[in-house]
Symmetry: C2
Subunit: 133 residues, 2 copies
């Protein structure tokens, strides 16, 4: 329920590892070998991190990834949003289309849960990826 997905775990492991390599580029294979992470899956994650401008990459032989910004500038909140897409802690908050919620106007808990969500997000915003090292 309040749980990190493998994607987030693998992201943290990879980002930490890449950060430790300073300017060297690091391949997906190196990380997946070292930590027993399925290669194809990790590759997808790194590609996503690249698209989201957290990593930059070189293709071809001797290619690989490096950080495009320091880890203390990436919050856990940002990482989660970018890897998994923005999600709400309850579905009815996920969309403006309130009419889709068949509990709708009799729903009594939306506002307080919304506040809860904001507090959770704020906590995740204060945690930088660099804290996980």
């Amino acid at each position: 329920m309040v749980k990190f997905s493998k994607k987030i775990e693998y992201s943290l492991i990879a980002l930490r590892y890449i950060a430790g390599a300073k300017d060297e580029v690091i391949t997906a294979k190196e990380i997946s070998n070292k930590y027993n992470i399925p290669h194809e899956l990790l590759a997808k994650i790194l590609q996503k991190l690249k698209k989201e401008n957290i990593l930059s990459s070189n293709q071809g032989v001797n290619g690989g990834y490096k950080l495009s910004k320091p880890l203390n500038e990436i919050s856990l909140s940002e990482l989660i949003d970018k890897i998994e897409g923005k999600t709400a802690i309850v579905e009815c908050l996920h969309t403006d289309n309130v009419s889709e919620c068949f509990i709708s106007d009799s729903c009594s808990i939306k506002d307080p849960i919304n506040k809860m969500q904001i507090e959770l997000e704020n906590l995740l915003k204060t945690k930088m990826v660099s804290d996980f090292i």
Copy 2:
């Protein structure tokens, strides 16, 4: 990823409703009708809440549920643990059996994630079910 399950949502809705009824007992049916929650599912949840001593019940005609303690004595943390079972935000923290984790000793993020988990839990501990009303 950081998201309440339907069980938690339904629990909050139900607890709120039951609390509003003061000393009257409330049936699962009444709540499921009012909020369009599947009856069998809600019934299960209320039974669980009873087993966990959050609700008490009377069987038979005119039976139903009532609170066995005030909502400001039930934290969100407690509710989640009791409804869903204690969970860890990453799997490797869930068990002492570290050997099952095939990343194991090369795993670099366990400690910091553990701290994160504690902070999340602390936040959930400060939120009482009564705050969701």
